[in-house]
Structure formats: C-alpha cells, structure tokens
C-alpha cells in the first residue's frame, strides 16, 4: 500500500520481484518459510511440476538472493536467505510505514476539519 524507498532500493528489489513473480516459486518460498530448510526431494513432494522444473526454479530464487543452497552429502538443502527474524522485522517495518501514513492522514483530517 505504501510506496516508500529510494530508487536504488527499487532497483535492488527488481530481481526479487521477478523471482517471486511466479506461482511455483512463490509456493517454494512459502514452503521454506513454514517448514524450514528442505531438500529437493521434500520440496518436490506433491508438486504439480517435475523435479527438474523445481530445480530450475530453486536456482532462479538463489540467483535473486531469496534462498541459498548448501550441499549435505549427496543432496542440496535449500533455505531462505533472509532469516525468519529478518523477515519478521522487514514485515513489521512495512506495516509500520503504513501506520505512519494512516496516522498522517488522520492528523490532516482532524486538524483541517474541526
């Protein structure tokens, strides 16, 4: 709802935006959010697309810095790049910005319509 942030931040956000602009990738991120670090075998469970396709999506997300893959034995474990806490703080910062804007509108409303 709010449009804050400098042009530079928007440019930084662009690859993330592109990476998440896909239903499968968004679902993968949601899975990693809720269930923590997962292997590709787990991430492919119940998916409507092939494991190869999932792998491709995971690499796209990794390139955008949204997730990170680490090798464990023969498989790769994927986890969210910003940690849960960072994510929560970032979310709260956005809700906070929206409240600032709402309270500013309330201020103008009550001060200009006595």
């Amino acid at each position: 709802m709010s449009r804050t942030g400098s042009a530079a931040r928007r440019v930084d956000a662009a690859p993330v935006f592109a990476a998440l602009g896909d239903a499968t990738r968004l679902r993968l991120v949601a899975r990693l959010c809720d269930d923590g670090p997962l292997s590709i075998a787990h991430l492919s469970e119940g998916a409507a697309v092939t494991r190869q396709a999932i792998t491709k999506h995971l690499h796209a997300l990794a390139d955008a810095g949204v997730i990170r893959g680490t090798r464990r034995g023969r498989e790769r474990i994927w986890e969210l790049q910003p940690k849960r806490l960072e994510m929560a703080q970032r979310y709260l910062a956005q809700v906070s910005t929206q409240w600032d804007a709402a309270i500013d509108r309330l201020r103008v409303f009550v001060e200009e319509n006595p």
Partner: protein
C-alpha cells in the same frame, strides 16, 4: 512533518504515539464514526462501528479497490479506547485470509492541554504464518508493480 514516534519492542507488536492538534472528542469521532474513519483511512465502510460488529468495506486506494477490509470491533470505551481485529496486509483479493489469526488494533486517546495524545498499537504478528510475513518481499514490490501499471497506462493512453 511526521511526528510519529515508533517504538518496536518485539516482532509481535507495533506501537505509535503522536500528538494531534485537535480535541479528544474530535479525534474520537474520526476513529469511531464509520464515514469519518472511511474518509481518512481510505476505505468505504458499510454499517456502523459498534462493539461486536463486523464492519466491512472496500478500500479506496487506487489499485486496491477490489480489496475488502473487515474489522471485528472489540471494545469501545468512549473517548478513551477503540479496538478491533483484522487481517493485516490482506490486500491480495485472491487469497482467503479467514483461516489465519488476526491482529488486534487498539487506538487509545489521552487529552493534554486541548490536544490529543494518540497511541496506536497493533499486536499479534508472531501468530501469523511465516509465509504471510514472507510477503514482505511482494508488498515491497507491490508499490513497484502499481508504479509499473501506472506507467503502462500512461504510455498506452498517450
């Protein structure tokens, strides 16, 4: 211009405290009269704000007109406390937010020298699913998306 002070004590709550140059009765009306709330918040609420009421309305922010906001009113203590529950950031019309926990929003008013000290607290974020918070990425880019749409409209109309 903004004199809102922010205290962030945890990831569970947001607290805002500010002084409004208007009497407490004026601010109370602005936050508890559905038409007045609608005007500054950017929504078109239908029905009156009353304890226990579910008040709904469409957002009026450009680009969000298809989003319906629902407030479950909890407490109304005249000129002192108004609280309700809602789904924060529920701006994706294709998502059903109803199974998710709601956050609690509290407006508290105090008067000092003819001015009003307003405290807004929103709490309960820690109970939200982690995936909802992950949308911070999308929300951030939401502004970006609507900017792009605006540019596209401008270009195609021009």
């Amino acid at each position: 211009m903004t004199t809102v002070n922010m205290e962030m004590t945890s990831t569970d709550r947001i607290e805002k405290r500010t002084v409004l140059r208007a009497p407490r009765s004026r601010v109370w009306r602005a936050i508890t009269n559905a038409d007045e709330f609608s005007a500054w918040f950017g929504v078109k609420l239908e029905g009156a704000i009353a304890e226990g009421a579910a008040v709904r309305g469409r957002l009026t922010h450009p680009g969000y007109e298809n989003v319906t906001l629902e407030m479950l009113v909890e407490r109304i203590q005249p000129e002192s406390l108004f609280s309700y529950r809602w789904h924060p950031g529920a701006v994706d019309a294709s998502v059903d937010y109803t199974p998710e926990p709601m956050t609690l929003v509290e407006f508290r008013l105090d008067e000092e020298g003819g001015e009003t000290i307003l405290t807004v607290v929103e709490s309960g974020f820690d109970r939200l699913p982690a995936s909802r918070r992950a949308e911070a990425f999308r929300m951030n880019d939401g502004g970006w998306t609507s900017q792009l749409k605006r540019i596209e409209k401008y270009v195609t109309n021009g």
